[in-house]
């Protein structure tokens, strides 16, 4: 193992992911979390990204407390491609030597982080749900679920820098803390003959992209909903409660809901105040994404469904009967009728 002189590394870097001119919410969540960690490390929070036109994000980045914004702007970086992003980012990391690098555990972030860590020959902890500083050693403690959420592991990286982690969207709250920051522009010379991969077509799944992490009430439908049109029962209850709707993977596979609304190990992690599971059995992969909800209400016709093991309140019954009644009653009680 290559050991580095770790004393040369300082400050926390947060990768700014963006799409269609908007910063990904997970990047703002990570900036907020990084500010907490920076207090313990007595250092600053810096943001970084690469792309075609990225300086435009500076106001939002500074609003969330990054004091510096390191960027490489190049039309060649217009679309995300693993290799040129990797090389230009590695260039900045090697030059400025951050102690910690945080990246959102999105499809893009997970694609990118593994290759950066390999080039840098440092440790990377994927998909973390908690980050802390060890008070004694000042190492970053990164906690992540494995075995579909059945086991948690706290990982650290004592001898290599930067300490890298991808973190799940929706785990931390994005909190504003405006500062007057500074943009630092870097240049990277691409040998374009090296990058032969190209995007032929982009297919955007229209309209229904939703960050379930924003909502404090989620009504979620599973295979027990029985048919696509019944998912509107889930949506109606969510509307009445001022929340949003979601689905299990099986419902997604049936085509009853888009993948962007899937909760679970391979979907989104949520921790609302109230999660209502309708016709969901509660497989561990589903639980992995919703187990930390404050109140879980489960409606299932099978009294032995595993979801009842973790539900705060359980109702044994047919969702197709329970949901319309529940929506009607809540509408009245909440004064919306």
């Amino acid at each position: 193992m290559i050991k580095q002189d770790i004393s040369k590394y300082k400050h926390i870097w947060v990768f700014i992911e963006y799409e269609n001119g908007e910063v990904a919410h997970v990047s703002l969540e990570l900036l907020s979390k990084a500010r907490e960690l920076a207090k313990d490390l007595d250092c600053e929070v810096h943001a970084f990204t690469v792309g075609d036109k990225v300086e435009q994000f500076k106001d939002e980045i500074f609003k969330y407390g990054a004091t510096k914004f390191f960027i490489i702007e190049d039309p060649f970086l217009k679309d995300y491609m693993t290799e040129p992003y990797r090389d230009s980012i590695v260039y900045m990391i090697e030059k400025y030597k951050p102690e910690v690098v945080l990246i959102g555990a999105t499809t893009l972030g997970r694609d990118l982080a593994g290759t950066i860590a390999t080039v840098l020959q440092t440790g990377l902890t994927a998909d973390t749900t908690a980050l802390d500083i060890d008070p004694k050693t000042k190492n970053l403690l990164m906690t992540r679920p494995t075995f579909g959420g059945n086991l948690m592991a706290t990982i650290f990286c004592p001898d290599n820098r930067p300490q890298m982690s991808t973190s799940r969207p929706g785990v931390y709250k994005a909190v504003e803390a405006p500062v007057k920051g500074e943009v630092i522009k870097e240049k990277f010379e691409f040998d374009k003959s090296k990058y032969l991969k190209k995007i032929v077509e982009k297919i955007v799944e229209e309209g229904d992209k939703v960050n379930l992490g924003f909502y404090d009430i989620i009504v979620s439908g599973g295979f027990g909903m029985g048919a696509k049109e019944n998912m509107k029962l889930v949506q109606e209850l969510a509307d009445v409660l001022g929340g949003t709707w979601a689905a299990s993977r099986k419902a997604v596979q049936e085509g009853w809901a888009p993948q962007t609304r899937q909760v679970g190990q391979t979907g989104q992690t949520v921790h609302p105040k109230i999660y209502i599971a309708c016709g969901i059995s509660g497989a561990i992969q589903h639980q992995a994404g919703m187990k930390s909800s404050e109140i879980i209400i489960a409606i299932n016709k099978d009294p032995d469904a595993p979801i009842f093991e973790i539900a705060t309140y359980g109702i044994v019954g047919d969702v197709l009967e329970v949901l319309p009644k529940m929506t009607k009653m809540f509408k009245e009680k909440l004064g919306k009728a």
Binding site: T82, E83, T115, G123, P145, K209, K291, F308
Partner: protein
């Protein structure tokens, strides 16, 4: 066309249970399987071999029992199977694992010739890191495409492929030169039943073992001691207490009780005055 598929033998995560007394996982009696995503990579590689000719090699790092996973890969139609097994690998994190697999793959290339497509599942269902594939791709310095859901075109002459992948906002169609590294989703294909000739061939095939005595590998990059990340502690998340089943004479009754239970929370959230 030469495909090399990286597979992992994993405990069937869906059957692993937690022992809350000891805070550990109960793995006894849990079958070891090929990581489900990796099977789709094997399937895709075999189909390409059947269409364009060439061969499929498979490599698995793990203890001797991982030979079973390789035998299964052979019965799915793979031509060569390699077990990368050595005490020096014990406790490797993803960086050390990608190093060992890269070294093993180089040995296979020496024996079997250059690889056109490297394959892996998008992640393993035990560790869930999704890092090993990208790590090996980086070491070979070949273009990486993750989350692949469709192989649209293979052009052995031009040495390119067109694949479709998942991204956060939808999908992307990518043209990628070979050699390349693909990590795949389950949606890539449906697994077919192994035809008899594969099974017969598999029964006759041997799994070759690679280790530090017959391949070139630097032990100072392998194993727990040389892994940059260490596990500080492992623990089972606190068990959620089984809550209350709400019962009543009628559904109205039940729903009224439920409402009374959560009314304070709804109030706190400003949903009701």
């Amino acid at each position: 066309m030469h495909s090399l598929v990286f597979i992992k033998q994993v405990p069937d995560a869906a059957q692993v249970r937690v022992d809350y007394e000891t805070g550990t996982l109960i793995r006894e009696g849990v079958p070891a399987i090929i990581n489900p995503f990796d099977k789709h990579a094997i399937e895709a590689a075999v189909r390409i071999r059947d269409e364009f000719g060439g061969k499929v090699s498979v490599i698995c790092m793990g203890p001797p029992m991982a030979e079973d996973a390789l035998k299964e890969a052979l019965s799915m139609g793979a031509d060569n199977a390699y077990l990368l097994s050595d005490r020096i690998f014990a406790g490797s994190d993803t960086l050390a694992t990608s190093y060992a697999l890269w070294a093993g793959a180089k040995k296979i290339i020496e024996e079997e010739g250059p690889v056109d497509i490297f394959w892996a599942g998008k992640q393993a269902i035990d560790g869930d890191t999704a890092q090993t594939g990208p790590g090996i791709a980086t070491r070979f310095n070949v273009p990486l495409v993750t989350y692949v859901i469709d192989i649209k075109k293979v052009d052995p002459e031009k040495k390119t492929m067109v694949v479709e992948r998942l991204v956060e906002s939808g999908r992307e169609v990518i043209e990628v030169p070979m050699p390349c590294f693909l990590t795949v989703e389950e949606e890539l294909n449906t697994l077919s039943f192994a035809p008899l000739p594969y099974l017969i061939k598999a029964a006759r095939s041997k799994v070759a073992v690679l280790n530090s005595s017959n391949m070139e590998i630097d032990a100072s990059y392998c194993g727990l001691k040389n892994s940059p990340t260490k596990v500080k502690k492992a623990f089972t998340p606190p068990k959620r207490e089984k809550g209350e089943m709400i019962e009543g004479d009628s559904l109205d009754d039940i729903l009224n009780t439920l409402y009374e239970k959560i009314a304070p929370v709804l109030k706190e959230m400003g949903k009701v005055s």
